[in-house]
């Protein structure tokens, strides 16, 4: 399923949603933007929960069938879209099991998901006999997600699913979502205003502002752009994707494979072969023109300079590439000139701190 949408919708006199987007058939597509940017409205339009008025232009297809255009409108119950809301979506008159049964008896497609497998992914077994009002916010969201999966949704929409959950529970539920995304072959659309959630989960990113898409593309690539990080000051950072290569239990360090180079970090809880995301703050990356020797810094990468930030301050952001991924370094303008750095030049990035993304979310 590849959802295509071309939408021009006027809401009130001053809000116009004007977007054209394609939801990739695999991976998590994130709609990111401040509240009021139109991302939730966009998601509800895609699901058919809103349909605009006659004067709006809304064209949505799922790759094969038209969901909405001038002449036709497929109702939400016929679209096969699973929708997880921010909160309070479980039927209060039914038990947890009753809620799941509601979904099971109305399946969109014969799915071949093993029910117990779904319960495992979301650790649902302990909740099955509970009443809805006994659940915490995080537990309720896990039930809501399972309910959507058991319903046989052909794609999964989530509208700020962690928005109603306290921060410590958020970092507990994110790995569940990540596990789903690895196990399911259906497209997921994830709406959030939290940059941390997006960097942890998303594969594809649409940034919305005031009803328009301001940038779009691969999350890993976009999060390293100078545009998105300029003005972030010390918070400028990139997220990179690595694979666990091996563990060194003597030093309690794990070697991650990053674009055919090694990054060392404490990641003992993961298994060899696991793919994980790592966050690198730009202020913790420095540049040398020759390979540094006799240094205490473990993580040194051979990289190529891509571009510099136009800056009026004392420091500049430098975008560096290693094969298909990017990192950022914040250095002083003085160093930039002293080293005579130029685009395309091969240099070495020394990385002082590396954090697994989960840890950075826990902060």
């Amino acid at each position: 399923m590849e959802i295509n949408a071309d939408i021009h919708l006027t809401r009130d006199p001053d809000f116009v949603l004007d977007v054209n987007l394609t939801v990739q058939p695999h991976g998590i597509t994130a709609l990111y933007g401040p509240s009021g940017s139109g991302k939730s409205t966009l998601l509800r339009l895609l699901a058919g929960l809103e349909r605009g008025t006659r004067s709006d232009r809304i064209e949505i297809t799922d790759g094969k069938n038209v969901w909405q255009n001038k002449h036709s409108f497929v109702r939400p119950e016929m679209r096969g879209v699973g929708f997880v809301f921010q909160q309070q979506q479980l039927f209060p008159h039914l038990s947890v099991q009753g809620n799941l049964n509601f979904a099971l008896s109305r399946q969109h497609t014969e799915h071949n998901l093993d029910i117990n497998q779904v319960y495992d992914w979301l650790n649902l077994q302990p909740l099955l006999d509970k009443e809805i009002r006994q659940l915490s916010g995080g537990e309720a969201q896990r039930v809501a997600i399972s309910r959507v999966l058991l319903n046989g949704a052909k794609c999964l929409f989530m509208d700020e699913p962690l928005g109603s959950i306290d921060v410590p529970s958020r970092s507990r539920i994110l790995p569940y979502l990540d596990r789903l995304h690895r196990n399911l072959q259906i497209p997921m659309v994830y709406v959030s205003h939290s940059y941390e959630e997006i960097t942890y989960l998303a594969d594809h990113l649409f940034v919305l502002d005031n009803g328009k898409i301001t940038s779009q593309g691969s999350m890993l690539e976009l999060c390293s752009t100078l545009e998105l990080n300029s003005g972030e000051g010390d918070a400028a950072a990139v997220v990179i994707q690595c694979t666990v290569a091996k563990h060194d239990h003597n030093y309690r360090l794990s070697e991650l494979d990053f674009e055919e180079a090694s990054i060392f970090v404490n990641a003992e809880q993961y298994q060899v072969g696991d793919s994980l995301r790592v966050r690198i703050p730009a202020k913790d990356v420095s540049i040398t023109t020759t390979r540094p020797e006799n240094t205490s810094i473990l993580n040194v990468l051979e990289v190529q300079i891509v571009s510099f930030e136009e800056s009026t301050g004392p420091s500049v952001l430098v975008r560096l590439r290693r094969k298909r991924q990017f990192i950022l370094a914040r250095i002083t303008k003085k160093s930039l000139n002293l080293l005579g750095l130029q685009p395309e030049q091969t240099v070495y990035a020394q990385i002082k701190s590396v954090a697994l993304l989960m840890e950075s979310i826990n902060d």
């Binding site: 016929m78 699973g82 209060p92 008159h93 109305r106 309720a140």
Partner: protein, 231 residues
Amino acid sequence: MIDPDLVSLTITLKLAAVTTLILFMVGTPLAWWLARTRHIAGFLVEPLVALPIVLPPTVLGFYFLILFSPNSGFGKAWTSMTGSTLAFTFEGLVIGSVIYSLPFYVQPLQIAFSGVRQELLDAAATMGAGPMDRFVNIVVPICRSGFVVASTLAFAHTVGEFGIVLMIGGNISGETRVLSIALFDHVETLQYARAHLMAAGLLIFSFTLLLIVYTLNRRQAGQFSRSDSGS
């Protein structure tokens, strides 16, 4: 010979039951529409439904008499279909009672319907439940006590009506003489023992029903209010 008061009791109960049944069929969709619509017409229909609460029953009764008269279009159509007029018949009373008790059925139900969160209906819709499925399996069970309250109030209010019955029903034993009219008769003819019995009976009946209604209201207020609040 059956006691005429028992006949009045039977007519009263029959009238209240038929009225409540019709209100269930007509008032339920009306309450749902009023609870959900953002259409401008809602602003007009809502006070229209509430009118019988404030209007003297005699005003309603007067207009019904005019409507039922064979000279009016509605009265003429009814007469040509059934061969009889509506004024001073049980059928006429039913029509009057449905309108007169409409707000007592619609308003509590409308409030209950408004309390059903949109997320629940949206969630059910995306899971493949059509409009009727959503109403029967989500809305009705959540609003169960709303239905009980609405039906009880409509039933009790119909049992207690007087003015409109007097205007459009008259006082025909076995056809339109309901309890409240019979009570009036007893007082008029100074049969105080019978009047006492009847008045006390109606008092206890009404109190019991209201007791049920308020108990249910309290329970409903506590029932789903703290569900998945994220605590």
